[in-house]
């Protein structure tokens, strides 16, 4: 049998039962690899359940720094008998299967193209620890010890991590270290260590990764920090996975960083609302009054917020909404990732509405874009919706460190204070003085007899006086279109990369790929793989809606553009078609909507299929580039 081999390049997957404490052991495993300076991306694949159902944790190790899912499993660590059959089947030929052999493996689970490592985990822990709780918890740590031997994890790093985790709790540290050692020893005594797949500090890791001082953090924490640094003072929310940890983290940091030193009082307010309608209502009320406010939610909450989003759009009030997307309705797959709220968010609400969307792809961008979202909301006087997802929000990502410019000034937009109102000759709330569609706001209480107005939807004239005149309405909503045009120059521009050199091109077509958010990492990986196979593909990563002009140009410059995203209906493709006057035949969807993040392999396969099937009948409009 040919075993899978390679240094710093493999996928390990853990099959556990949820509620058994496996998450922290699996995290320990992933973090130790990170501390060895090797690119790693862990992912929790968990059920909507508190205890007893199967849960998985997938760890991708990649010397090239690919952080998306690759597809396939090289080493399976299976401690859940419920899912064992499926888990055995999912291992790549030549791969490895580590399991608890306290009970012998059922004969039908024997494959002859993979290598098995049986470790009597339950038995060892029963012998060693006297309480059921310890037996259960430390079993997870024992298999991390086994993996340390099999994969060559540096043992002192593991110990340091335990020291950090249980700071001051000596007993916990020593019992955990003991469990690690027990697993390590069992492996060295019984198996040939290390395996052909293994880790090596530094090893073949790309130099630019080795040099940078990466951090490991999840997107939701980064968003929370962005809200702290961006000056958010009011957070209103209703708990919903996978967005809950945004406000949890905001609360944690705010309790540390936002307590007035003199009085001990809070320079922030957090309200757990009765539902999402109320949550966004509170945000809008606070924004109307000039505070920076936000909410975090997921698909079902976004639906409930849609009436208020329409009001905020027409009444031109700032609001920041973090949408951590998941799959479908509450009884959809609430703990699975998707990018499937794109259209619902872009056109949320009644009447002619369009919203500004941001698409972060890394924790660093979650941080930067959250800060920017607060600026944009006030500059553009409209809701800003940040489209994160479960994969980005809840999983740990290796990311460049967060950076802060101490010279940053909050961009509060066009707000007239008392002095401004005194100076303004002829103020009207919805008069487009500057021609950019953005008018001058005033805040309640600013001036004794100037600047007050009645905030309402669209039945008003330029001076915010009640009006049902068709002309007034048209003038107002046409100005909102102008404002949306202005927004294009405010929002983050898309990212492109210099084209990859392809040695022996297999196609004359000029190919492009467009993607965003968590589809980006596996997309970049797929594009590099395809380049090696002879298909050069230019890329553009979208970072905001309204789309930048360069997107139109990018699409026009290519014979065929793949739109890579994680939903069934190709929502970004639809949005592009709608907004950019693009013929549908120019855009080909590359999709995944199974609930687990899209893999590089699946992207490669879909693009190859599409090219083989269609390349014959597409006429190249552009000269060859290679």
């Amino acid at each position: 049998m040919k075993q899978i081999a390679g240094i710093n390049d493999f996928v390990v997957k853990f099959a556990n039962v949820n509620g058994t404490g496996s998450a922290s052991a699996n995290h320990l495993f992933a973090k130790s690899i990170f501390r060895m300076g090797i690119p790693v991306s862990p992912r929790n694949i968990f059920p909507s359940n508190i205890q007893g159902l199967p849960t998985w944790y997938e760890v991708r190790v990649s010397s090239k720094g690919y952080l998306g899912r690759r597809g396939g499993v090289d080493l399976m660590v299976c401690v859940n008998p419920q899912s064992m059959e499926k888990d055995v089947a999912s291992v790549e030929p030549g791969g490895y299967f580590l399991f608890d052999n306290t009970k012998p493996l059922a004969p039908h689970l024997k494959r002859d193209d993979i290598t098995y490592f049986g470790v009597p985990l339950t038995q060892m822990c029963m012998r060693e620890y006297d309480t059921p709780r310890l037996q259960q918890l430390l079993k997870n740590v024992v298999y991390v010890g086994v993996l340390a031997a099999l994969l060559d994890i540096e043992f002192p790093i593991l110990k340091n991590l335990l020291n950090d985790q249980f700071k001051g709790k000596e007993k916990l540290i020593s019992s955990n270290v003991h469990a690690l050692e027990m697993g390590y020893q069992y492996a060295t005594e019984n198996f040939q260590c290390p395996l052909p797949i293994r880790l090596e500090s530094g090893g073949n890791v790309a130099p630019h990764i080795l040099e940078s001082e990466h951090i490991l953090m999840n997107g939701n924490t980064a968003v929370a920090l962005g809200a702290i640094y961006g000056g958010a003072t009011v957070a209103a929310w209703y708990p919903i996975t996978p967005s809950t940890s945004v406000v949890d983290a905001f609360a944690k940091y705010a309790e540390r960083m936002r307590i007035d030193p003199g009085t001990g009082k809070k320079n922030f307010a957090i309200v757990q609302a009765e539902d999402e309608l109320a949550a966004i209502g509170m945000v809008i009320g606070a924004g109307w009054n000039g505070a920076r406010a936000f909410t975090a939610t997921s698909g079902p909450g976004l639906s409930l917020m849609s009436e208020f989003l329409g009001l905020a759009y027409f009444a031109e009030l700032p609001a920041v909404l973090i949408d951590v997307q998941r799959s479908g309705p509450s009884t959809g797959m609430p703990t699975r990732s998707q990018q499937s709220d794109i259209l619902a968010a872009a056109y949320a609400s009644h009447g002619d509405t369009k919203h500004v969307l941001l698409f972060p792809a890394t924790p660093r961008e979650c941080f930067d874009m959250t800060v920017q979202a607060f600026d944009l909301a006030e500059q553009l006087q409209t809701p800003i919706i940040m489209m994160s997802d479960l994969d980005l929000g809840m999983n740990d990502w290796m990311s460049p460190p967060l950076e802060w410019d101490d010279d940053y000034q909050m961009q509060r937009g066009k707000v007239l204070d008392a002095d401004g109102l005194e100076e303004a000759k002829d103020w009207g709330r919805y008069v487009d003085v500057d021609g950019d569609g953005i008018c001058y706001r005033t805040l309640p209480g600013a001036h004794p007899d100037r600047g007050s107005y009645f905030t309402r939807g669209s039945s008003k004239n330029e001076r915010a006086i009640y009006s049902e005149s068709g002309d007034d309405y048209v003038q107002n909503v046409d100005r909102l279109v102008r404002k949306f045009e202005t927004a294009k120059s405010y929002v983050p521009a898309p990212k492109t990369h210099p084209p990859i050199k392809v040695k022996k091109p297999k196609t004359k077509l000029n190919l492009g790929a467009v993607f965003f958010g968590t589809s980006a990492s596996p997309a970049y990986e797929a594009v590099e793989t395809l380049a090696e196979m002879g298909y050069g593909i230019d890329t553009m990563r979208i970072r905001a809606f309204p789309f930048h002009e360069s997107l139109d140009q990018f699409i026009a410059d290519h014979d065929r553009v793949f739109v890579i995203e994680q939903n069934r209906d190709g929502q970004m493709r639809q949005l592009i078609m709608n907004e950019c006057q693009i013929a549908p035949s120019q855009l080909t969807s590359v999709l995944n909507y199974s609930g687990t993040p899209i893999t590089a392999r699946s992207i490669v396969r879909q693009i190859l299929e599409a090219l083989e099937a269609k390349s014959a009948d597409v006429v190249s409009l552009h000269p060859e580039t290679a």
């Binding site: 009320g285 950076e403 909050m410």
Partner: protein
């Protein structure tokens, strides 16, 4: 006040302590039906704010959707207003009050806006004790959508189209008391002697103050058989009169000993309740609920200050939020800076 320009005033118009005339508290011309109860509530608010010498620009008025929710256009033209969405004004008011605790908030809603689509937000607004005055203009029907029964329509009340309401009405004042509101009153749009001091007292209360105002809809619910018509309401009114003396103002009226009960609000204002018309103490929630229940059973509409807890803690106090309004905090107070961020980075390696 430095921005206030002296302007010509009719020398005979009375002014309040701030030098404002009642005209400074008015709004645009009402577009409601002539005789609509809601217009009387607007003028009671105008008079109440004038008499209490509130700075108009320091008041923010919010509403939901309905004829009643249009009212804020017709009073306090110098105040900012927010006509939000149907039944959701409570959440907007909550956010606004958290963002700027320095303003006085007045919320205007209807019985449809509050007791049906907005019931959830209303109850939670009370539970959180947001510092505001919340007035429901209660006409037992949906005026703006042309007269459908609302959830406060009384059992047996006959609609304009002849249908008899088969459901028990929701009593918002009892609900507010049950849910812990610190200030609960009921009044009638046609009783300005009672309504004005009640609104003044509510606006002085430091916490959630609720007033249910029976406010007949002349167009859809003022016929015979309706329990919320002018005639029926006047007929059954059991009004408990009161006077309001704001803080710093001297008590000039002489009351015969034993005839009034004085209640002091947190800001030092005093409400004088005329004892002849009530048998329970307003600080007793259970007694208040009983009194309302008894009156309802006898077909009477008990109005006046029903319940008061002058010391209730409002949302900003309960959350221990800074005294400086959150919307005035700047970068220095809000942004921890690069050094802190670097140490956070360090913890993530």
């Amino acid at each position: 006040m430095s921005y206030l320009k002296p302007k010509f005033r009719h020398p005979n118009l009375p002014t309040n302590a701030l030098g404002y005339t009642v005209a400074d508290y008015e709004g645009s011309i009402s577009t409601l039906c002539a005789g609509c109860g809601h217009d009387s509530i607007s003028s009671a608010i105008i008079n109440a704010c004038f008499q209490s010498s509130l700075e108009p620009h320091k008041i923010a008025k919010l509403s939901g959707i309905g004829c009643s929710s249009k009212m804020p256009t017709y009073f306090l033209g110098k105040s900012h207003g927010f006509n939000s969405v149907h039944g959701r004004m409570p959440s907007v008011a909550t956010g606004a009050s958290l963002a700027n605790r320095g303003l006085t908030y007045i919320g205007i809603s209807g019985d449809g806006d509050t007791a049906s689509i907005g019931m959830g937000q209303f109850v939670h607004l009370i539970r959180r004790n947001v510092n505001m005055t919340y007035i429901v203009a209660n006409n037992g029907c949906y005026g703006l959508t042309k007269g459908q029964d609302s959830a406060t329509a009384d059992l047996g009340s006959v609609s304009k189209y002849g249908a008899v309401n088969p459901f028990d009405g929701i009593d918002l004042a009892s609900l507010a008391m049950l849910q812990g509101a610190g200030f609960v009153g009921r009044s009638f749009s046609g009783d300005k002697e009672q309504l004005e001091p009640l609104i003044r007292a509510a606006m002085s209360h430091q916490g959630f103050a609720f007033i249910d105002v029976v406010s007949p809809c002349v167009t859809f619910n003022n016929h015979q058989g309706s329990t919320k018509s002018y005639a029926e309401t006047r007929e059954n009114l059991d009004a408990m009169p009161l006077d309001f003396v704001p803080m710093r103002e001297e008590i000039t009226t002489q009351y015969d000993p034993g005839t009034t009960q004085g209640v002091t609000l947190h800001d030092g204002s005093v409400i004088h309740l005329h004892k002849a018309s009530h048998e329970y103490r307003t600080n007793d929630r259970t007694a208040a609920l009983n009194a309302v229940q008894m009156a309802t059973q006898e077909g009477r509409i008990l109005t006046g200050l029903l319940f008061l807890d002058p010391n209730s803690q409002n949302l900003n106090q309960n959350l221990n939020i800074a005294s400086k309004p959150l919307n005035e905090l700047g970068k220095n107070e809000l942004c921890p800076g690069s050094r802190v961020l670097n140490s956070i980075n360090e913890g993530l390696r």
